[in-house]
């Protein structure tokens, strides 16, 4: 009797589902068609252009890996490595400082401090680009407010350099790390700490043997996310340093706008392809790590 009842219920639902399938497909088609054109077309054009070589004399085009190999040589390689180095260094510093800041906030007894820092992080993580560059130029640039007053120029500090740019990037990377790592820190159970302490573990031992291993996937995932974010950044660097620091995004922009040499557009596309490969690797590392950390801290 009890098993018969649900069956009676299920039948009409199933038939209703069949009737509804058509609108389900129809509603998704515009989205897929739109992305196929506006995203797929440029992506294919980039792929195609990266492998196309145009003979300047005859105008004939042919496929080859020439663009890709020249995108991995000379000034372009320097720029690519410069971007990787800047992203790795700033992401590493931001990971460390973001962890410390998030831990300080999570263990704080003041609820309002916690809420304020988390909200501010949400805002600051979105604060990249042009305004960020100008805020730092006004503070530490050549005629910045602090530059003259603290005599930073005589001390050898230069905002328009590798470390200057790192300092600026931290401004949106640290909040991003705080947002990423806070759920993981909140997932650390008080019982684990107490169990470790009952077994005679010191503070440092608890962190080394319990907390850090649990946090490692989240930390690595956060680092990779920050790396990708710093790697893709263009506006801040363009508005601030021009091209004193070699970065791959600046090289692509220069080649695209024909600033360097005519006929370098396809090398720009090859450089873009290099960036996509790096960003793809970043996502390939990030997604499994994120899944792993969410399993532990559920």
């Amino acid at each position: 009797m009890t098993t018969a009842l649900p069956r009676v219920d299920v039948a009409p639902v199933a038939s209703a589902k069949r009737r509804r399938r058509a609108p389900g497909w129809l509603a998704v088609v515009p989205l897929l068609a739109f992305t196929a054109i506006t995203f797929g077309l440029p992506a294919l054009a980039m792929l195609n252009g990266a492998f196309t070589v145009k003979d300047q004399a005859t105008g004939a085009t042919s496929y080859s890996g020439e663009n890709l190999s020249s995108s991995l040589q000379g000034a372009y390689l320097t720029a690519l490595l410069g971007s990787v180095k800047l992203s790795a260094v700033s992401a590493a510093i931001a990971t460390l400082f973001g962890l410390l800041l998030a831990q300080a906030v999570v263990t704080s007894r003041f609820r309002f401090l916690r809420e304020a820092v988390l909200t501010a992080s949400g805002v600051l993580a979105n604060f990249g680009g042009v305004p960020l560059a100008f805020a730092f130029v006004a503070t530490l640039g050549n005629s910045g407010v602090l530059t003259g007053r603290l005599g930073l120029k005589d001390a050898g500090f230069d905002l328009y350099s590798f470390w200057g740019l790192t300092l600026v990037y931290l401004y949106f990377l640290v909040p991003l790390m705080v947002l990423t790592i806070t759920p993981a820190l909140e997932g650390l159970r008080a019982q684990w700490r107490e169990a470790a302490q009952n077994n005679g573990a010191t503070h440092g031992q608890y962190w080394r043997h319990v907390a850090l291993p649990v946090l490692t996937p989240s930390l690595l995932g956060g680092f990779v996310l920050l790396f990708g974010s710093a790697f893709a950044a263009y506006a801040t660097a363009a508005a601030m340093v021009g091209s004193t620091v070699p970065l791959v995004t600046l090289q692509i922009a220069d080649a695209l706008s024909g600033n360097v040499l005519v006929g370098q557009e396809n090398v720009a596309l090859a450089l873009s392809l290099d960036m996509v490969v790096v960003a793809g690797l970043v996502m390939a590392v990030y997604l499994p790590l994120q899944r792993r950390s969410s399993r532990w801290l559920a």
């Binding site: 515009p30 989205l31 800041l101 300080a104 704080s108 100008f134 805020a135 107490e194 960003a279």
Partner: protein, 277 residues
């Protein structure tokens, strides 16, 4: 227990140091920007602020940015909302397809994306000049209203909009709502607009605000395609009027913050989280 409290008190000086360092690092550039924008040698002047409105290009670029933002929000919601709701009702295989499609833009940095776009736009004069497609390509590059930017921004907003809507839909039993509306005699559009959408208000606002912030601050794509919305204008005037460019940056920051704080308030206790580069 005694041990526990002991270790907590021991940790506090470190915490104070970290918080103080963070406060200095995050507040000083903001304060210095304000000082820079009102400082004229020996006295304080608000000239940089009062002259903004009259400066050439300000109104045009700001209006352009706002128009682009509104169109982008409308278009991205029109594309995403019906699709996401329909996926909740059925078609589980398509669900993962849409999830992948909406996160693909994360793998292509904006600068690489714009490199691809400018290549496609160049096909117009090179290959398509005799076809009606050429007219379309010319039309979307209209100097006064570059629709090509809207297309690009919609793609760039997809990951954020997807996450916002997905989180909102997870909290709502869409199937029951739609079935209830349908059995009361509502048509499909009526069921969507009058039963589902009111329950998604928070998610829709969330998605709209994130898109607005993205479009207002966007520099890479518009700069390299040669248009002058707000962010590009700030950079363009910075050479001649450094003080004003900082003043505008401070103002645009404040506006963005008010927007995002409003979003945090509307979204309850949740902070707007950005999970992607």
């Amino acid at each position: 227990m005694a041990r526990l409290t002991f270790s907590r008190t021991r940790f506090r000086p470190g915490r104070g140091l970290v918080l103080a360092a963070a406060a200095v690092y995050f507040l000083v550039p903001l304060a210095a920007s304000v000082v820079f924008s009102v400082d004229s040698g020996d006295h304080v002047t608000f000239g940089a602020y009062s002259q903004i409105v009259g400066t050439e290009g300000f109104t045009d670029s700001l209006l352009l940015s706002l128009e682009l933002a509104v169109t982008t929000i409308v278009l991205v919601l029109l594309l995403m909302v019906p699709a996401m709701v329909a996926l909740r009702l059925g078609a589980p295989k398509l669900r993962s397809v849409v999830a992948v499609v909406c996160s693909l833009p994360l793998v292509v940095p904006p600068i690489a994306f714009v490199a691809g776009i400018s290549t496609v736009l160049k096909w117009g004069p090179e290959y398509l000049s005799r076809t009606p497609l050429f007219q379309t390509i010319v039309a979307i590059q209209n100097e006064n209203y570059p629709f090509v930017l809207v297309l690009a921004y919609v793609v760039m907003a997809l990951p954020f909009v997807y996450q916002a809507l997905d989180a909102g839909l997870r909290a709502v039993d869409v199937r029951t709502l739609v079935e209830a509306a349908r059995s009361c005699g509502a048509s499909w559009p009526q069921a969507l607009v009058r039963a589902v959408l009111p329950n998604l208000r928070g998610a829709l606002l969330n998605a709209s605000f994130l898109t607005l912030a993205l479009v207002l601050g966007e520099f890479t794509v518009s700069h390299l395609l040669g248009y002058q919305p707000f962010a590009v204008w700030i950079v363009d005037i910075s050479g001649a009027q450094a003080q004003m460019s900082v003043a505008v940056s401070v103002l645009s920051l404040l506006v963005t913050w008010v927007l995002l704080l409003a979003l945090a308030a509307v979204g309850g206790r949740r902070t707007p989280s950005r999970t992607a580069p």
